[in-house]
């Protein structure tokens, strides 16, 4: 659509985005509240951030979460990229619809079901629950998100680029690493980031599949939230929100700059014929 926005459009955008952002903004503001009563402003203070650093349980949980997120995002990226390649590239094969069903179902499946079923699997296998089981569980649902992200990148991929590489004497596996992977890399990186944050955020699946000694940050936050709102939790949340925001904005600025550069180059090249 090319027509300009009306006042109605602008109003709905302003109201809509206020609705989306106001709660987070308030949460951030009140994390700097001096008062322990979260909803009464008692002056500016960073003491809750300082007390965070003393809270070893919370820091432990954060460390576990980061490790789980890093490991599961990495494995999920490998598996998800492979899955995307299979979905886009392989013609028909046995159980193709089952495969694509298994890729897409976890995207909409309630987390309680995923969590419960994975727990029962680990119990049936007799696996000791803890870091590894959470990691495996997160890998499983994150790989589906990665597959979808990478797939969208692969759909627009000109297959003759790979054929050109093979035509010039490059065997298929080498072609994948020299040609395909570098081209779809932005999608793969985006997939990794998504998998990482999904793992970072997850409460339900982790609660089901975890064991002693592997309490993740969301689980820690959840158990404290059930006891009531505290400025300390506000502070943790602010840090998490800040980190994610910085990463996402940085990533989008980099892509934006590349795009602008690219458009400028293309304009410069245009008209060089003749």
């Amino acid at each position: 659509m090319t027509r300009g926005p009306t006042w109605f459009n602008i109003t709905s955008l302003v109201l809509g985005f206020s609705f989306l952002y106001l709660p987070i903004v308030l949460l951030v503001i009140y994390s700097f509240n001096e008062s322990r009563l979260v909803t009464v402003w008692g002056g500016f203070s960073t003491k809750w951030y300082a007390s965070l650093l003393q809270n070893e349980q919370l820091l432990d949980a954060a460390w576990v979460t980061l490790r789980v997120a890093f490991a599961s995002a990495t494995i999920a990226t490998v598996l998800g990229t492979l899955a995307a390649l299979i979905l886009v590239r392989s013609g028909r094969f046995m159980g193709r619809s089952l495969f694509s069903g298994m890729i897409f179902a976890p995207l909409v499946m309630p987390e309680v079901i995923l969590g419960l079923s994975l727990l029962l699997l680990f119990v049936a296998m007799g696996t000791a629950r803890g870091f590894w089981t959470v990691m495996l569980a997160h890998t499983t649902f994150a790989m589906c998100y990665v597959a979808v992200v990478v797939q969208s990148r692969l759909v627009g991929f000109d297959k003759s680029i790979e054929e050109a590489a093979e035509d010039l004497g490059c065997p298929p596996v080498k072609t994948f690493f020299l040609i395909t992977l570098p081209i779809i890399l932005p999608g793969v990186i985006a997939g990794w980031m998504l998998a990482f944050t999904l793992s970072l955020d997850d409460l339900v699946i982790a609660s089901f599949t975890t064991g002693p000694g592997a309490t993740t940050l969301p689980m820690k936050i959840y158990s404290q939230v059930r006891l009531g709102v505290t400025p300390e939790i506000n502070a943790v949340c602010t840090i998490l929100v800040g980190l994610v925001t910085i990463c996402v904005i940085a990533a989008s600025l980099v892509t934006k700059r590349q795009q602008v550069q690219r458009e400028r180059d293309e304009r410069a090249a245009f008209g060089a014929d003749g």
């Binding site: 680029i161 050109a164 093979e166 010039l168 180059d265 090249a269 014929d273 003749g274």
Partner: protein, 402 residues
């Protein structure tokens, strides 16, 4: 031809090629296909390719000779691209064999075949600069770095890309990308260069220039070129021989002049250039030629051609518009190869004019005649609704079976 000189200077070559056209259809004494003992360089032997139920190529046999510039010509879906992709190794024939320089290509993957391909989309590696794109194939052969460097700079010079060596594909114009693709596929000195609609993305003027560059490169490098195209003008410009394809089969394989002047079927006559097709009955056959009577209007055609069709059979007489003369008046009684017409439509095309004349009751029964506009701004005496007479020589057309 001075090596390294202005082989890509199109103006010079436009002149040269125009000269070539004026002296005849063969640009040099190169007619290996007329010698049945001459070994073919590329040979398709009974090749069939099916995609599920769809037959893309049907039991096709074809011989292409070394140093030939060969064109596969046909509409979309005729199987020409599939045929080329089987030679490159991207498709496996359902049955039949393909030989290149005496070697059976069955089971050899694309990356071990001594052919290189220039893709329709160019398929340049977007994350590599021009130099790296050109060097890619050489690196796969583990060529020493110094030799790669030398070969790359030679290719850059040959395609006039020296100043763009460090640019990425998206920083190039369409014409420059096309040159990179060409340089990249030529860098390995393949036994045969495959060109898949190589000029489709270029505008008309650039395309014509590039066609001549391709011909010169081919002659200079003494390589075998196989081009796939749907553009008959392009095929006729560049190729020594053309194979016209339809529905997965070869319809005619011949030089451009033969294809144009002596098409072997209604399909080829209609596909290549503009043609008048007149439905007629055979009324007389002799050593000197054939006599036909048109189904519409009943005029008599006397042709020097022979036909397999028997007396009374219906055939098609195909005659190119430029071989039809047009004048005001009526035909003389008892004369052959003359048709009465009524001017129906006149198209002024700049270089030529085309007149459609109605020769029958039906609006579709028209015959086109074209003539060069040899003088400027001369009011053409022939105008709408004029009674005209259309005439042609007895060697002007060909007789084709339905």
């Amino acid at each position: 031809m001075a090596p390294g000189g202005s082989i890509l200077s199109s103006r010079f070559w436009v002149g040269a090629v125009l000269a070539k056209k004026s002296i005849g259809p063969v640009r040099r004494e190169f007619v290996p296909w007329e010698n049945s003992d001459h070994p073919p360089f590329i040979e398709f032997r009974g090749v069939t390719k099916k995609f599920g139920e769809f037959v893309a190529v049907r039991n096709l046999s074809l011989k292409i000779y070394e140093k030939e510039f060969f064109a596969l010509l046909g509409g979309s879906g005729c199987g020409k691209t599939t045929l080329m992709r089987m030679l490159a190794g991207f498709e496996t024939p359902t049955s039949g064999q393909i030989f290149l320089d005496g070697q059976d290509l069955a089971g050899i993957p694309p990356y071990r075949r001594p052919s290189n391909m220039m893709f329709q989309s160019y398929a340049l590696f977007p994350h590599m600069n021009v130099e790296k794109n050109i060097a890619f194939g050489l690196k796969q052969d583990s060529m020493p770095a110094r030799e790669i460097e030398a070969r790359v700079s030679e290719m850059l010079r040959l395609t006039k890309l020296e100043q763009f060596a460090q640019r990425k594909p998206h920083q190039l114009s369409g014409g420059q990308r096309q040159r990179v693709a060409l340089a990249r596929s030529l860098a390995k000195r393949p036994k045969v260069l495959l060109l898949d609609e190589p000029l489709g993305a270029l505008d008309r003027k650039l395309r014509e220039e590039t066609q001549f560059e391709l011909m010169n490169l081919q002659e200079e490098l003494e390589m075998t070129f196989l081009i796939v195209t749907h553009d008959q003008e392009e095929a006729m410009t560049v190729a020594d021989r053309i194979a016209v394809m339809d529905k997965g089969e070869l319809v005619q394989v011949a030089t451009p002049a033969e294809i144009y002047e002596a098409p072997n079927s209604k399909f080829v006559a209609d596909f290549i250039g503009d043609v008048n097709l007149i439905e007629a009955k055979v009324t007389g056959k002799s050593d000197a030629g054939t006599r036909l009577v048109s189904v519409v209007d009943g005029f008599v055609i006397d042709s020097d051609q022979e036909t397999e069709a028997g007396l009374g059979e219906t055939v098609w007489y195909a005659i190119r518009p430029e071989k039809v003369r047009i004048a005001q008046g009526r035909r003389e009684e008892g004369q052959v190869n003359q048709i009465d017409g009524l001017v129906w439509d006149i198209a002024y095309l700049g270089d030529v004019s085309c007149i459609h004349s109605k020769v029958g009751e039906d609006d579709h029964d028209t015959i086109r005649a074209t003539f060069a506009n040899i003088s400027r701004m001369v009011e053409n005496p022939i105008t709408w609704d004029d009674e005209v007479v259309l005439s042609f020589n007895r060697d002007a057309g060909v007789i084709l079976k339905g």
